[in-house]
């Protein structure tokens, strides 16, 4: 039985959508089933390696119904099997359960998604901005954030030698 079939039979009510594109095998899971699915994959199916967490803002994407897609790439290091798990969250309060309790690599990856998209991860031990300064107020990789920024760089406080 393939991993997708196992997941389908384990979570029959979740309505998982499995597909394949090139060599990427993908499973789309509703946000409420994400945590049990990831825990099942880590615990029972041996997907012990979380390679990647990232997000996509579908604000300007043609035909998209949800605002944010969050992507997890998990690998079974014994068999080399790789699966892309995807879920969707929406405004006004995009929150997902943190995967930190399963994979420690989720720590900084989730912090980056929070920093860039404003998607919160409940249960994350230290959800702070990581790449932008703490006082930064926007989420730069959202599609409604302009490429040139909103003047943050222009108005950045400058300390001169005289007043330091």
């Amino acid at each position: 039985m393939s991993t997708e079939e196992t997941l389908q039979s384990k979570f029959p009510a979740a309505g998982l959508k499995c597909s394949q594109f090139r060599d990427n095998r993908r499973v789309v899971v509703p946000a409420e089933s994400l945590q049990p699915l990831l825990a099942f994959m880590k615990g029972d199916l041996g997907f012990d390696f979380l390679a990647e967490i990232t997000a996509v803002d579908y604000l300007e994407y043609e035909g998209a119904t949800d605002r944010f897609g969050v992507v997890y790439v998990v690998v079974n290091t014994k068999t080399g099997e790789r699966l892309v798990i995807k879920t969707f969250v929406n405004d006004p309060d995009p929150v997902l359960p943190s995967a930190y309790s399963l994979w420690k690599s989720a720590d900084w990856l989730e912090r980056e998604v929070y920093d860039m998209f404003g998607i919160k991860f409940s249960g994350h031990p230290d959800l702070r901005r990581i790449l932008t300064p703490d006082e930064f107020s926007a989420y730069p990789l959202r599609k409604d954030y302009p490429l040139k920024g909103r003047g943050e760089r222009h108005n950045f406080p400058v300390i001169t030698r005289a007043d330091s």
Binding site: N24, E52, P133, L147
Partner: protein, 406 residues
């Protein structure tokens, strides 16, 4: 950014008064780039380390949404500038997977040679500076001279020493000639002697060993759980190498070993990197003697490919094709799909997650940088080491700040 008192408040308040705080970086010779660590010390023992990153954040991923697949290659090679060509190969590997382009055999071999040269280049700098930070200047100079030869090879192929922007969708900018092949051959010939010399300088050098052995230990379980890949994971005994596990380019045809060690410390990482260079040389040897003839770029019938310059200047079809690819309001249809594609970069798994929306630009161009994931491990493995070990561990992790912050 000025040092802010509020930064300190978020650290665990030192329970004992004798703990003191040291700000390491962002401008420190041993960080090589702009990294900043806030270390809590008990005497010289590191009790806690909090990395502060983002000093080089330049919004590369946002730029990737505004540049087309060929233009963005000028940005990706600025991420890991120690092995720039590998980033380009990795980026276009992902793009070609999205577009469904199968490379020509010659291009596959050419890119494999370049990727392995980049691996050597990266490991040369890393092992060299690792020794340099610990006081061994000679090895660094020997290795840097070899890097210089690789720059020459890359310059002969692309016209640029460093930020080459050499790959294109479906191929490379220019084909290589016999002079280039000879350069690679003569590099391989000379490399073994220098490699052996540095081996003699460092591998059994007692001063070096005492600085790196048993330092920065990382277990295999932690490596997998914390997302560590590449030479770091292999030095801890994790047998993962995407060149073997998910072969791309020409790696399936080639005979090479995956180097691993059980040590898990800085010394094991040094040994793994040293031995990987030997394997890379073997790969290059096999490729350079068997590099297939034929076109280097895929057929220009594919709408995504920039045509060769003679055809642009001398035929109307070539000119039209060039125009279609280059003009921002034209372009070629791309699938409305998403793809994650990863390659084994010198540092570990370098992945790209690309969302295509039908235009020749990516809707989202995410990089999975190995440095970023590896630096998250740092606070854990530096605990209870001496302050002077910070430099040794940083060197062995091979953190490239431009890739870390993007």
């Amino acid at each position: 950014m000025p040092f802010d008192v509020s930064d300190l408040a978020e650290l665990d308040a030192p329970e004992q008064e004798y703990l003191w705080t040291l700000n390491f970086g962002p401008q420190h010779p041993a960080t090589h780039t702009t990294l900043r660590l806030i270390l809590t010390l008990d005497g010289e023992k590191v009790v806690n380390a909090v990395p502060h990153i983002g000093y080089l954040h330049s919004g590369f991923e946002k730029l990737g949404e505004h540049l087309d697949f060929n233009q963005y290659v000028t940005i990706v090679d600025r991420m890991n500038y120690i092995s720039p060509l590998h980033n380009e190969i990795s980026w276009h590997h992902a793009v070609e997977k999205l577009l469904g382009i199968e490379l020509t055999p010659r291009c596959k071999y050419l890119r494999t040679i370049l990727a392995e040269l980049m691996r050597i280049q990266d490991h040369l700098l890393n092992t060299g500076t690792c020794a340099l930070d610990l006081g061994g200047f000679t090895a660094f100079l020997y290795f840097f001279q070899q890097r210089e030869l690789i720059y020459d090879i890359v310059e002969t192929a692309s016209g640029q020493r460093f930020h080459t922007s050499y790959t294109r969708v479906g191929g490379v900018a220019f084909d290589v000639n016999n002079a280039w092949v000879d350069k690679v051959r003569s590099f391989i010939k000379g490399f073994a002697a220098v490699h052996a010399e540095v081996h003699r300088l460092l591998t059994r050098n007692r001063i070096f060993i005492e600085r790196v052995q048993g330092i920065g230990y990382l277990s295999a379980e932690d490596c997998i759980n914390m997302g560590v890949t590449g030479p770091l994971a292999r030095a801890s005994g994790v047998l993962r190498d995407l060149r073997k596990d998910e072969p791309y380019l020409a790696y399936a045809d080639l005979d090479f070993k995956v180097i691993a060690s059980k040590g898990g410390d800085c010394y094991a990482r040094y040994l793994v990197r040293m031995q990987e260079m030997v394997e890379s040389v073997k790969i290059i040897e096999q490729c350079i003697e068997n590099i297939p003839e034929g076109p280097v770029n895929v057929d220009a019938g594919s709408k995504a490919v920039i045509p060769a310059k003679p055809s642009v200047y001398r035929s109307i079809e070539g000119l039209i094709q060039h125009f279609e690819v280059m003009m921002p309001n034209r372009g070629f249809p791309t699938p409305k799909e998403e793809i994650y594609a990863a390659t084994e970069s010198p540092n570990g798994e370098l992945g790209y997650y690309i969302v295509g929306d039908g235009s020749p630009r990516s809707y989202r161009a995410r990089t999975r940088p190995p440095s970023y994931v590896h630096f998250a491990v740092f606070p854990q493995i530096i605990k209870n080491h001496q302050l002077s070990d910070v430099v040794a561990v940083l060197g062995s992790l091979n953190i490239i700040a431009a890739e870390l912050d993007r």
